[in-house]
């Protein structure tokens, strides 16, 4: 006997015993692992799809170009995008602001300034009427968002300055109003005014969501003819010469607008400037909190799976009381028994976890493929390594946590009590 009195059974031998016990009861093992499989798969699916959607939207925001700065009327509190909802009603951005921002003495780094208004409008051609999103914009909108025109052409600065009744329409609008006919040069009626269709957007304009269902006209004619003679803007985009110039330009814009609006206290600003970085950060915030919440829900199902493992392990320990007694009689130490039952719980939960990860990734890939097919937008398939790490880590932790109690129960049985058990 060695001095410490410890048994020499190797870890791999004990692991072999645990594997044998699980394989000896395949259906029970599979059903027990199922709870873990579902829980881990749910976590993987939530995190991967969350990551995919986040990546998609960030990719689109990025394609706007990092040189763009967005000015909206009103004040957005902190990073909370929800408070932006009220901004539509604010009328603080006027034509004079645009003139001041375009003045190189005020904002020397600005290469273009593009104001826009939004609304919805009903458009009629022949006996077809559609209600669509209206965007009244400066002529720079096509450059800023890299919008490509499939048929006809974009409107120009001259069109804007002359209040031209010209419209570039999305492909769905074109289809609904004109069917198979060529829309270019046709007149559509909006608010009693005839607008001439000068162009149709191509369908590959991922940078602006919903472009297929939009009607884009010069902001001057939108304000004057379609929105009831308003004189304010919903958004102004200012593009900087370089990405490096953005922070300085933001300060220049603030100075200019404050002077224009007679604001001395920055906390009373009636406008909000967002850089692409700000927007990405707030999208990030939304997705991180949404994904975290859904992951928490999925984690609860994993917890339930863990309780299932513990339950079955407790039943198993009771059923195998005689086996435990016999093993001890043959020389197994309490440590050997503890390790064997702990391995059984760990194998169930880690095995379940790995199957859950593979299954979860499979479901995610399928969902991404279906979403891509259904929407025409290419969803990126993002493997959430954090989700995988979390899945493995959490299932191992669950195996340990919920396995220790039954394993200790097993190990503490005295050999003679266990052998006497019927």
């Amino acid at each position: 006997m060695n001095k410490s009195g410890q048994s020499h059974a190797s870890v791999s031998d004990v692991l072999g015993m645990a594997t044998g016990a699980l394989l000896g009861n395949k259906i029970r093992s599979a059903l027990t692992a199922l709870g873990i499989i579902i829980g881990v798969a749910a976590i993987i699916i939530v995190m991967s799809i969350g990551n995919a959607a986040q990546a998609l939207i960030l990719q689109e925001v990025q394609s706007f170009g990092a040189r763009n700065v967005f000015i909206s009327p009103g004040r957005i509190q902190g990073n909370n995008p929800m408070s932006a909802a009220g901004a539509v009603l604010n009328q603080s951005l006027k034509q004079n602001d645009i003139d001041q921002l375009e003045d190189p003495n005020n904002v020397p780094d600005a290469v273009l300034v593009n104001p826009s208004v939004e609304g919805s409008v009903s458009a009629t051609y022949g006996d077809q009427t559609v209600i669509e999103t209206l965007l009244g914009s400066g002529a720079h909108v096509f450059d800023i968002y890299n919008l490509t025109i499939a048929q006809g052409s974009a409107f120009t600065k001259t069109d804007v300055d002359s209040y031209a009744r010209a419209a570039v329409i999305g492909k769905n609008v074109a289809k609904d109003l004109f069917g198979a006919n060529d829309p270019i040069g046709k007149k559509i009626a909006m608010k009693g005014q005839k607008f001439s269709v000068v162009g149709v957007f191509s369908s590959s304009n991922a940078a602006m969501i919903g472009i297929d269902d939009m009607i884009v006209v010069p902001y001057t004619s939108a304000q004057e003819y379609l929105l009831g003679g308003i004189h304010y803007f919903n958004e102004v985009v200012v593009q900087a010469r370089t990405v490096e110039a953005v922070p300085g330009m933001v300060r220049d814009i603030q100075t200019t607008l404050r002077a224009d609006h007679n604001i001395t206290d920055p906390s009373k600003d009636d406008f909000t400037i967002q850089t692409q970085e700000d927007i990405m950060r707030s999208i990030d915030t939304v997705f991180v909190s949404l994904t975290a919440f859904l992951t928490l829900v999925a984690a609860i199902s994993l917890l339930v799976g863990g309780v299932g493992v513990m339950n079955i392990m407790l039943v198993s320990v009771t059923e195998r009381t005689r086996e435990i007694g016999l093993r001890k009689a043959l020389g197994a130490t309490s440590g050997n028994i503890l390790l064997q039952f702990l391995f059984e719980a760990l194998l169930l939960s880690i095995g379940g976890g790995i199957i859950g990860i593979v299954g979860g990734l499979g479901v995610t890939a399928l969902a991404v493929a279906v979403a891509t097919k259904a929407t025409g937008i290419v969803f990126p398939f993002v493997v959430s390594w954090m989700g995988i790490g979390l899945g493995v880590g959490v299932s191992a932790a669950i195996g340990l946590t919920f396995g220790v109690f039954p394993a200790r129960n097993a190990a503490q049985k005295s050999p003679v009590e266990a052998l006497r058990y019927e």
Binding site: G5, S7, D13, R327, L330, A332, T333, G335, S414
Partner: protein, 239 residues
């Protein structure tokens, strides 16, 4: 030097506050190479005595020295080691692991002893051959008859080359033919010098031993050599 020496051994079971005195001051010495039958009615305490001698349970009071060392000083892990290396067990209900093969059952004590894979398979196979089950090595334990199961259990008890084999009613669940084979085997082992302690309530099993210790109400009633020893291989076996 005596192999096993117990003095004034007392074992009290407490169940719901009611104390039961299973052993009430038992003193006994067993030397190397003996074949002792412990007899008595059921409830006399003979199984309790075997469990304490087999280091499966601890006494409430009194002393037990095994190979000159006090057993109560050992930790649970050290007792496990003694059971593993020095003791072998044969039970009335065989206690094989039913889903494991014959070979895997016999190998088990060697696994806990940390013997290398190659060596333990060789040793287990040799023991299975010895009990005449060479053609059953790969069978699941649950596929064997009662007599075959008990022979596997004997192979398992022998595989670690123990100092003592403890058997608790080894023929209790067997028909007379299988029982004869098992008893004959135990006698053969004793003839080869192995120490055997067998608990039984049946006279014919006790007659196969060399010495009987009769227990009544937790005390030794008589302790004497077997006058007319029955040699199973020669005399046969009548149940």
């Amino acid at each position: 030097m005596s192999l096993i020496e117990i003095k004034k051994l007392i074992k009290i079971y407490s169940d719901d506050g009611v104390d039961t005195r299973a052993l009430d001051g038992v003193s006994l010495t067993i030397n190397d190479g003996e074949f002792v039958a412990i007899t008595g009615a059921s409830g006399s305490g003979k199984s309790t005595l075997l469990q304490i001698l087999g280091c499966l349970d601890r006494s409430t009071d009194g002393s037990y020295t095994f190979e000159g060392k006090e057993v109560s000083s050992y930790s649970d892990a050290e007792l496990a080691r003694i059971r593993n290396e020095k003791l072998g067990f044969v039970f009335q209900s065989f206690n094989l692991l039913p889903r494991l093969s014959v070979l895997d059952n016999v190998v088990l004590p060697l696994v806990y002893a940390g013997v290398s894979k190659k060596e333990r398979v060789e040793r287990a196979e040799a023991m299975i051959d010895l009990v005449g089950l060479a053609d059953r090595r790969g069978y699941q334990a649950s596929q064997l008859s009662g007599g075959q199961k008990q022979r596997v259990a004997i192979a398992r008890a022998l595989v670690n080359n123990p100092k003592v084999i403890f058997a608790d009613e080894p023929t209790g669940n067997l028909d007379s033919k299988s029982g004869a084979v098992v008893l004959e085997f135990l006698q053969m082992l004793n003839d080869q010098g192995r120490t055997l302690v067998v608990v039984t309530h049946e006279l014919y099993v006790a007659e196969a031993a060399r010495r009987t210790v009769h227990i009544v109400d937790g005390r030794i009633d008589s302790d004497q050599p077997v006058a007319h020893r029955r040699i199973i291989a020669k005399d046969g076996f009548i149940k």
